[in-house]
């Protein structure tokens, strides 16, 4: 009964979305306040209905209601509670419901907190947002109904893919979706602005926090996914350039570009139509990502759906929104008047360069990801484009961008002189050279290029610090004055410093992993030892352990270094009898700078167990840096200008200080 309620709520949500799509749009066109006013209650009702459906689904999973096909296929009574809940989105239908839930959540947030938006813009934004909901709710209801019944209901479910039974992965999809779908806000604002034919500073100020929110959720989601693959897939790799990973990276790159161009649109009134185009592309790439992951065209842990008709429907949705948006752009964009002239060497110029390089990087990833699929679709040979392709394209494009990141904030708006800006970065340059020299002195093995890589990382971190120090006058004022200035510094400024510094730490992690990671593959009998990067690993014994819904083979590995006892590490190989699958649990020991990573395999038939161990230099920095970047996004989001309830002040600030 309750399941029918969930289904009914979804159908109602579809109806409400249809109304929300049509009525406010007509209202905005006719300037009819009554019709426009429909948008806000409709958006909130839409959220309430989809949340109801989602809650019913969660309830069905938690209570193991196997009369639902979805639950029977993807859950099991012995599964721990957290994975019963995570199981809701660990499958195609449930993950699509989560997708529309987050979509409607964003819409409802605009409805609830959009008091300072002009009525027409708000009505149009909500109508566009509803049109996306209509498309995806129809997709769910007609091709992927999560509330299908199974009669008779089985006594037990089939379980969830053990690879997905992991805390890192349980919360990876919600964050990733919050990011993917969050870009729909930028998209809806862009379409609404095109329909109105007007983009002002207020528009850009509204788009930025939404993009920032989506960007930081996407950053966390990508970092979690990467961390998950690092410790569960047993290869110790953090990024595989897998199409599914690329599907999340592409919107991230474009969202990053959008964040930067929106600054120019907000502060200088320039790059308006380019910002709109980026907003369209960012969400389009989210849709392409949804298509790639949900259509089953990819061979991946994410590809739940194998029904080709679903892929076709999503492809149609993608074409409709991307094609429609670009057509509208071509028709209306010329109406947007450009303002704010600037010289090539200026803050704006630097941000344009940032945008061009990021777009080029997204382009390279796009080709590498979709070309093999395209070739296959037209009947060409089956090919794979692996990491070497991306290293040769993405790398060289990002390199100049990374070099220029610290310089940008030192350039003045409108017209700048390069030399004084560079002069301020002498300290950062010196720090980078010192970092390179230290690397050359300490790390005797590994490529010398790594020293340059570390210098680049230091350049980014020190550059961010110099930016902060200059803003608060750290070396020119008494410390107390500096601290007071630091406290008064706009949060967005802090956010930028953190994000750019975090980027430097990510770069250090990637360079370290690429240059100095050491690997050992061997087979050990209990009692035998092996050496890796100065560590002595002794397999003392191998035993079995019972988990809640698995049985694990546990290797007891003693670790020591130069005679110093460093304790035990316990790599596991878990066997899930219900799903008849195995899952590797790597043992990871970190000292903050490098990880010791051990994986155990099966008995090779002669009483020895395969052991694969890595010393992953700087690996933890990759995720630490990503978290710092995301934290920078959070700090920036709390900036007074974006704070809900402070609209008057924001307007006053804008009027008094147009060029900050």
């Amino acid at each position: 009964m309750i399941d029918e309620l969930g289904h009914f709520a979804l159908v109602l949500a579809f109806g409400v979305s249809l109304v929300q799509m049509i009525v406010p749009m007509i209202g905005a066109h006719r300037r009819d306040a009554g019709l426009m006013a429909v948008a806000r209650p409709a958006a909130i009702a839409q959220l309430a209905l989809i949340a109801t459906a989602f809650a019913v689904l969660v309830y069905a999973f938690v209570t193991s209601d196997f009369s639902l096909v979805l639950v029977a296929e993807n859950s099991h009574t012995t599964k721990p509670l957290i994975y019963k809940i995570a199981g809701v989105w660990g499958n195609h239908e449930g993950s699509m419901v989560l997708w529309v839930l987050i979509l409607s959540l964003y819409g409802a947030l605009v409805a609830l907190f959009g008091d300072n938006l002009p009525d027409g813009l708000r009505a149009r934004v909500l109508a566009v947002q509803a049109s996306i909901a209509v498309a995806f709710l129809a997709f769910i209801l007609f091709t992927s109904n999560p509330f299908l019944r199974l009669d008779p209901a089985p006594f037990e479910g089939k379980g969830l893919n053990p690879l997905l039974q992991d805390p890192g992965l349980a919360f990876h999809p919600p964050f990733l979706y919050a990011g993917y779908v969050g870009l729909s806000m930028a998209f809806s604002f862009a379409i609404a602005a095109l329909l109105e034919g007007r983009v002002d500073a207020g528009w850009a100020r509204w788009v930025r926090p939404w993009t920032l929110l989506a960007w930081l959720a996407l950053t966390i989601g990508i970092a979690m996914g990467s961390w998950w693959s690092y410790y569960t897939l047993g290869w110790g790799g953090y990024w595989f350039w897998d199409p599914v990973e690329n599907a999340s990276l592409m919107p991230w790159i474009v969202a990053t570009a959008l964040l930067h161009s929106a600054i120019v649109a907000e502060k200088r009134g320039a790059l308006k139509s380019w910002t709109i185009l980026l907003a369209i592309f960012a969400f389009s790439l989210s849709l392409v990502g949804t298509f790639l992951v949900r259509s089953g065209v990819l061979n991946s842990v994410h590809a739940f759906a194998n029904d080709p008709s679903r892929g076709l429907v999503i492809l149609c949705i993608v074409f409709f929104f991307v094609g429609g948006a670009l057509a509208l752009y071509g028709w209306r964009a010329p109406l947007l008047k450009a303002e704010g002239l600037f010289a090539p060497i200026s803050r704006e110029g630097a941000l344009v360069l940032n945008n061009l390089l990021l777009s080029a990087a997204a382009f390279a990833v796009f080709i590498g990801t979709l070309y093999p699929l395209f070739l296959d679709a037209v009947g060409g040979p089956k090919i794979t484009v692996g990491p070497p392709f991306f290293n040769l394209t993405f790398g060289p494009i990002m390199l100049p961008l990374l070099c220029l990141v610290p310089l940008g904030p030192f350039l003045a708006w409108k017209r700048a002189d390069l030399f004084p800006a560079l002069q301020r970065l002498y300290g950062a340059a010196a720090a980078a050279i010192v970092a390179a020299l230290i690397v050359l002195a300490v790390k005797t093995h590994g490529p010398w290029l790594a020293a340059l890589g570390m210098a680049l990382a230091m350049w980014l971190v020190a550059g961010a610090f110099v930016e902060l120090a200059t803003r608060i006058g750290l070396f020119t004022n008494p410390v107390a004055v500096s601290l007071r200035r630091a406290a008064r510094l706009p949060r967005a400024q802090w956010g930028m410093v953190l994000a750019h510094g975090g980027l430097g730490i990510v770069v250090a992690g990637i360079v370290g992993m690429t240059a100095w990671r050491q690997e050992l593959v061997t087979a050990l009998k209990p009692g035998e030892s092996a050496e890796l990067a100065g560590y002595t690993l002794t397999l003392e014994k191998v035993g079995m352990r019972e988990g809640p819904n698995y049985e694990a083979l546990v290797g007891v590995v003693h670790v020591s270094r130069d005679g110093r006892d460093l304790g035990y590490m316990l790599p596991e190989k878990r066997n899930f009898p219900v799903e008849r699958q195995e899952k590797t649990e790597a043992a990871i020991r970190t000292n903050g700078v490098s990880d010791l990573y051990i994986v155990i395999g099966e008995d090779n038939g002669q009483g020895a167990f395969t052991i694969r161990a890595y010393e992953n230099s700087f690996a933890p920095w990759i995720w630490a840096g990503a978290i710092i970047m995301a934290f920078g996004g959070i700090v920036s989001l709390t900036d007074r200008r974006y704070r809900v309830g402070a609209p008057v002040r924001a307007r006053a600030r804008l009027a008094s200080a147009p060029a900050e």
Binding site: N299, A303, V385, P388, I397, E582, K583, N604, T610
Partner: protein, 149 residues
């Protein structure tokens, strides 16, 4: 600088970066594409030894052997041709005899395929699309289905 010159500067910059990006992509495409072949493809197309490619098919039942401390050997079949494969390292969790596999590596002069990466399907119901296509092509798709217990 006049307005026109400024605009020209940015357009030139944009086109320049686009040209570099296209150049990089084309250059990387030339050398870094890995083709996917079934065992029948390998025999019929007489792939030159040393070429890097992906080999996909089913792991022949009863062919899995441990040949070294951490080295294993098995055969990949599409039910019409078989290719022997050796691999050093840990097999993925879902690697099993009689099920789908994709191995990436190089073919030796002796016809032995040395894999440096082995990918297995991700769950019970799932077969890599490449393997399914290869099996369909060899006309052994149904047999593959029936061969499963």
């Amino acid at each position: 600088m006049t307005r026109k010159q400024r605009r020209a500067t940015f357009i030139a910059l944009g086109l320049g970066i686009l040209a570099v990006a296209v150049g990089l992509v084309l250059n990387a495409m030339r050398d870094n594409i890995v083709f996917f072949y079934s065992p029948s493809d390998v025999v019929e197309k007489s792939i030159a030894p040393g070429t890097r490619f992906r080999l996909g098919g089913m792991v022949e039942k009863g062919s899995l052997r441990h040949t070294g401390p951490a080295t294993i050997a098995f055969e990949v079949t599409d039910f019409s041709k078989r290719i022997p494969v050796t691999y050093t390292g840990l097999l993925p969790d879902l690697f099993r005899e009689g099920q789908g596999v994709v191995a990436e590596g190089r073919l030796g002069a002796d016809g032995n395929f040395t894999a440096d990466t082995v990918l297995a399907k991700h769950d019970e119901k799932y077969m890599p699309p490449e393997v399914a296509a290869a099996l369909k092509k060899s006309g052994r798709w149904k047999e593959g289905e029936e061969a499963k217990p």
